[in-house]
Subunit: 719 residues, 2 copies
């Protein structure tokens, strides 16, 4: 019985228990008055209803795909069913993660509100942080449990072919996350937009006012979009990054010590997170943000120390141990750097956001132009960090590790393994990052409860502070998620290329070494198949972004109509005499969001498969590269421009300029930024990974088809 | 003496004479009243002043670069000085093209206005069309003259090394164009924004009102941005596309017949253009657009016929002749397709623009979101056309042409030569496209003259119709220019790769064939140098776009301050009692625009050189690819979103909804779209080509440096 995967299982299990303990603690807090409980319940009911309908819609697609995987992929394997099983379990995991996130947040909202009312800032911070920790810890723990468990079982029952089913876990996870991000993102922003447009602008009632028929849908949206979507996103990133590294190690034929080293890094970082979440000071807190930063930095410091200590337990040479610890630490250490960069471009403490606020004095148009410019430029330093991590980790791996096979490309692959470890190091501390992040939506929801339940002003002040910090952690987490997705996707992409070459060697019955050099020259950037593929990849990203942006507008339109109708037909609502029909708005948002999420999602599955099967694996390689090169900067642009616009509006409000022309102009920026940062932007992350994991799962089938069409060596356009 | 280049010279010379004849005709038209002449002169003076200052600023940079080219590139050649000479002449040509465009347009404006007043639609259409033809014909003719002339001279005095100096012509042209696009784009949009913000919104006076101190700067801006910039752009595209094809043929060692075939295609299309410009019906015109379309389609039909007839004069085999004609025709024929696609997404006759106008009922934010979505999706079909042309022309070339050297890659390069011919076919009809395009700014200027000179309403109606059609041709030309730039850049990029391999063979003194396969595998998309380079390319595009967008806002702010100051300190202006100080605003716009255009321009030169010299040519290859894959779709997005917003505003106005909230929201979209479509978007075109031509010029020097650093075979990160 291998020791380290078992340790992974144990730490994962402990993390889950610890999360349950924290959850019980949170649920034992006072849920507040009847009214608060009522509101909280309405939101929870709507969110659950949406999620279940989304899962039902999705499950048809998942069953079809599982059958396709079973017949196209599993039938060629000695032990059929494992890949389909991995896919299904990965997908169920994403659903569970989303549900869990939603469950915790909706239950905690009224309790945080009550804590703010009874215990002030310190108490409210403690309750919301622990609620966040429930999510952070349980996601990381479930992911680690699944990976360790599947690795143990698969490598035991199918020692020759356990790796692809492990990536299928990632495929299932990223696919469901993609749909959750898209559907939830459309729902949340359409509901937000619809409720605001009629409520704030036409009827002149404040945000979160219970008279607004869209108010519950708006709050449900926060939970199905920001919370469930984000929870699934992190779970998916974790699974994909770790399985990508393991898959690469498998392809390279590295010794078990290296594979177990990856699991060890993940386990040790989770261990450090247990300590980190308890280091939050909640007594006499002046600036909650510095408390949170302290907890994060401590977790990273402890992780790095554990990486260096633990790597020597693997029985590798000193150089190898040091290199493993160094590359993983590199990943962990750059996380705060990415966070800082994002913070600079999206927080109102620095000049970029203040410039946007300044432009609001002129017109909404200059707010848009300047904010878009900020989004563009913000991508540059993050991309620089990504290529720096790639370069340094590659160099360390190149000189420290040995890869026996793959001839002259052995050292190259050793370098890429260094990058894989860096990406694992970056993702391994996800537990604490998510704790800080999911604390945001909890505070946001609490804020809504405070408003709707009509609690006193000083309570609102406490939850307002928590909410605004939550906005910062939410924005910076996106930068972190995108950077880690870029590295993970790069690693997975290169693993895919060598998996394809191995498959070719197997199908053509030629030695791998004789195919290697030629195959690598076939994915040269001058190959027309690759070039055409690259443009197809860009087209997917553009199509997808356009569809998701448009869906928000279309859905919001329907919600606007419905809210207007209610105000028109039942004038008593605005005079507090009638209860608005919240459920109808929730229902419309649910129906439309689900109607809109299928087409872009299907394109992401169908186009790469058609490209791979018809044009050949070289075009598919180009497609993935094109999507990566255009998708990562676009995700950064959209997330950061959105964050910057949001905070520029807040900055204008802080100066007491509400209801001025300047504020109006800033609100336009914020509204444009909403679908940028919460619908289209975050969907690009799972999209890039779906393209990769999908391709890995179908790699062998594609090679087989290419051989049958006689294009496996040339591509459709002979090269 | 080779016959065909001489024919090229003769047709080019004839075209120039014909353009002069048309210019004389236009200048002999009645320039209107004293007031009209006065306004026209003020605009011309401002535009000339700006252009000369821009040229002065640029010339310092050009001298430095010419010296750098002389020492870094020319010294290693047998006949030094040719590359630097090509560079300087190409650059001067861009300046001349810009000046010419500006000269014709500013002189014609008052004459078109007068024609509209005296002769109505038919006469006004005729004058503005001929003014456009002066530009279209002279640009294409000068470009053809330069290419034919330089080819004749260079291949005669330096038969071994004439090709790089020819590409240097393209480098000079695209570099100057880049600066003109950026500087002019900042000027025009900042002046427009500044004049509108204070004039229309604050002071409540109409557009083009002579009381607005920014009104002359605004009209100057149209000339230095849209006219001079666009003229330089087309001249540059023509030069780069044709020289790229010739350069590729040279690299491949194709027979002279093929090289001359390229010049023949360009010459024949110009010949067809002479006929086409005369096919415009101006009598009893109901819909001027259909007249214009007829002229364009006729030119294409005649070109295609001439291609098929002419290709048999080259002394090639029947297959080769047919393939040359077919690929060139493919290029010419897809031009209207790209135009149609762009028209669909940017004209108010179709649903995308109408949807934006519809969203204006809700809020400016939904206008922005929907328009941005339209821009994104509009890139998809254009990209599809680009890859279709690439695929089909590659397949034709692959089967029809023979390339003797380059071993197993010979047929591949034959395929790429097919694509090169398609790109030449696409660009060869530029003369007629530009005639239709530059007719836009002429009408726009005429419109301004009509307004400022206070001519009667029915005159305004005529110039309004012409102006709105001008907007359509302007938008569609951008799509055409981007598609042709993408193909030209692809061809040049592949030629560059093989130029580098040839240089390596020469420096390392190894036979090319032994280096070939290995070198091609070195630019595989899995090479970390290539990947890092690709992200650097994206970073350049993002940085560049952000800077140019921001520059518009910064410059506009200063102009706003100045106009406000004039209104404040001299209240007589608004009461028609005092003349505003137009010159000061022109001066501020000039100074700021020039101050802003250096940094982004330098980045485009310095970053690729540093990447190539320090990280190796593999990283440079990745950089160009990354910039191409992210720049082309971004250029389409920005141009088309801008065009769609512009016309959505016009559509709202057409419905008589001026001064409503809906119109206000649509104006916000238009204002955001302005720098999208006229500053940042159009600058990406020359940017992509500067990266390519710059790299070709410095290719040998980079290889030498890489050899010295021992990274020529591996790149900085060993692969």
């Amino acid at each position: 019985m291998p020791v380290i995967p078992v340790i992974g299982l144990l730490i994962g299990a402990f993390g889950l228990l610890y999360a349950l303990y924290l959850a019980r603690w949170v649920l034992r807090q006072d849920p507040g008055t009847d009214k608060m409980r009522f509101i909280s319940n309405a939101i929870a009911t709507g969110a659950r209803a949406y999620l279940f309908r989304q899962y039902k819609t999705l499950s048809i697609l998942l069953v079809i795909l599982a059958i396709a995987i079973f017949f196209a992929v599993d039938m060629t394997r000695r032990l059929p069913g494992l890949t389909a099983l991995g896919f299904v379990v990965g997908a169920l995991g994403s659903m569970l993660a989303g549900y869990l996130g939603m469950y915790v947040t909706t239950r905690s909202a009224s309790r945080v509100a009550q804590a703010a009312a009874s215990g002030g800032m310190g108490k409210a911070l403690q309750v919301s942080w622990r609620a966040g920790a429930v999510m952070g810890l349980s996601l990381a723990s479930v992911a680690l449990l699944l990976i360790s468990g599947f690795y143990l079982v698969f490598s035991w029952i199918a020692p020759e072919e356990w790796a692809t089913p492990l990536v299928a876990l990632g495929f299932g996870a990223s696919l469901v996350t993609l749909f959750m991000r898209v559907g939830g993102g459309i729902y949340t922003k359409a509901a937000d937009l619809g409720a605001d447009l009629v409520g704030k602008i036409e009827a002149g009632i404040p945000e979160d006012d219970p008279r607004n028929p869209g108010v519950i849908a708006d709050n449900v949206g926060d939970n199905v979009g920001d919370v469930a979507g984000m929870a699934a996103d992190v779970y998916e990133s974790y699974i994909v990054t770790v399985t990508a590294a393991i898959f690469l190690a498998y392809i390279l034929g590295l010794s078990t010590a290296f594979i177990e080293g990856i699991i060890l890094i993940a386990s040790l970082a989770l261990l450090a997170t247990f300590v980190g979440v308890n280091l939050l000071r909640t007594k006499n807190v002046k600036n909650p943000m510095s408390s949170i930063s302290f907890a994060i930095y401590s977790t990273i410091a402890i992780s790095v120390a554990l990486f260096f200590a633990g790597s020597f337990a693997l029985g590798l040479s000193t150089t190898e141990s040091l290199a493993m610890a160094a590359t993983a630490s590199l990943g962990a250490v750059v996380a705060p750097l990415v966070v800082k960069i994002t913070d600079y471009y999206t927080s109102y403490n620095y000049s970029p956001v203040r410039q946007i606020a300044e432009q609001a004095k002129i017109s909404p148009a200059t707010v848009i132009i300047t904010g878009y410019g900020v989004g563009l430029i913000s991508a540059v330093p993050v991309l620089f960090v990504i290529i720096a991590v790639l370069g340094v980790s590659y160099a360390i791996g190149f000189f420290a590790f040995q890869v026996a096979s793959f001839g002259s490309y052995g050292q190259y692959l050793a370098g890429i393994f260094g990058t894989a470890l860096a990406s694992v190091g970056l993702l391994a501390i996800a537990g604490i990052i998510i704790t800080a992040d999911s604390y945001g939506p909890v505070s946001d929801n609490a804020n809504g409860v405070v408003e709707m339940a009509g609690l006193p002003e000083q309570v609102r002040e406490v939850t307002d502070v928590l909410d605004s910090i939550g906005n910062t952690t939410k924005a910076t987490t996106k930068g972190y998620a995108i950077a880690s997705a870029a590295l993970a996707a790069l690693v997975l992409f290169i693993a895919l290329m060598f998996e394809i070459m191995k498959s070719m060697a197997r199908v053509l019955q030629q030695p791998l070494t004789s195919l290697l050099a030629d195959s690598i020259s076939k994915i040269s950037i001058i190959n027309p198949n690759v070039l055409i593929g690259a443009f197809i990849g860009v087209m997917i990203v553009y199509f997808f972004t356009s569809r998701t942006l448009g869906a928000v507008g279309r859905t919001a339109m329907e919600i606007v109509e419905e809210i207007r109708r209610q105000f028109r037909e039942r004038p008593g609502i605005l005079e507090w005499k009638e209860q608005p029909d919240y459920a109808r708005v929730v229902d419309i948002a649910t129906r439309r969001a689900l109607g809109e999420f299928l087409l872009p999602g299907l394109v992401v599955i169908v186009v790469p498969l058609v490209t791979g099967f018809v044009m050949g694996w070289q075009a598919l390689a180009g497609l993935i590269m094109g999507a990566l090169v255009s998708g990562v900067p676009r995700a950064l642009l959209m997330a950061n421009a959105g964050g910057a616009w949001d905070n520029a509006k807040k900055y204008v409000e802080l100066q007491g300029l509400k209801k001025t022309e300047q504020h109006k102009a800033a609100v336009v920026g914020d509204t444009v930024g909403d679908p940028f940062k919460d619908t289209s932007g975050p969907s690009l992350n799972p999209l890039i990974k779906v393209l990769n994991t999908l391709s890995v799962v179908f790699a062998f089938a594609i090679v087989l088809a290419n051989v049958h069409m006689h294009i496996v060596l040339t591509g459709l356009f002979p090269f």
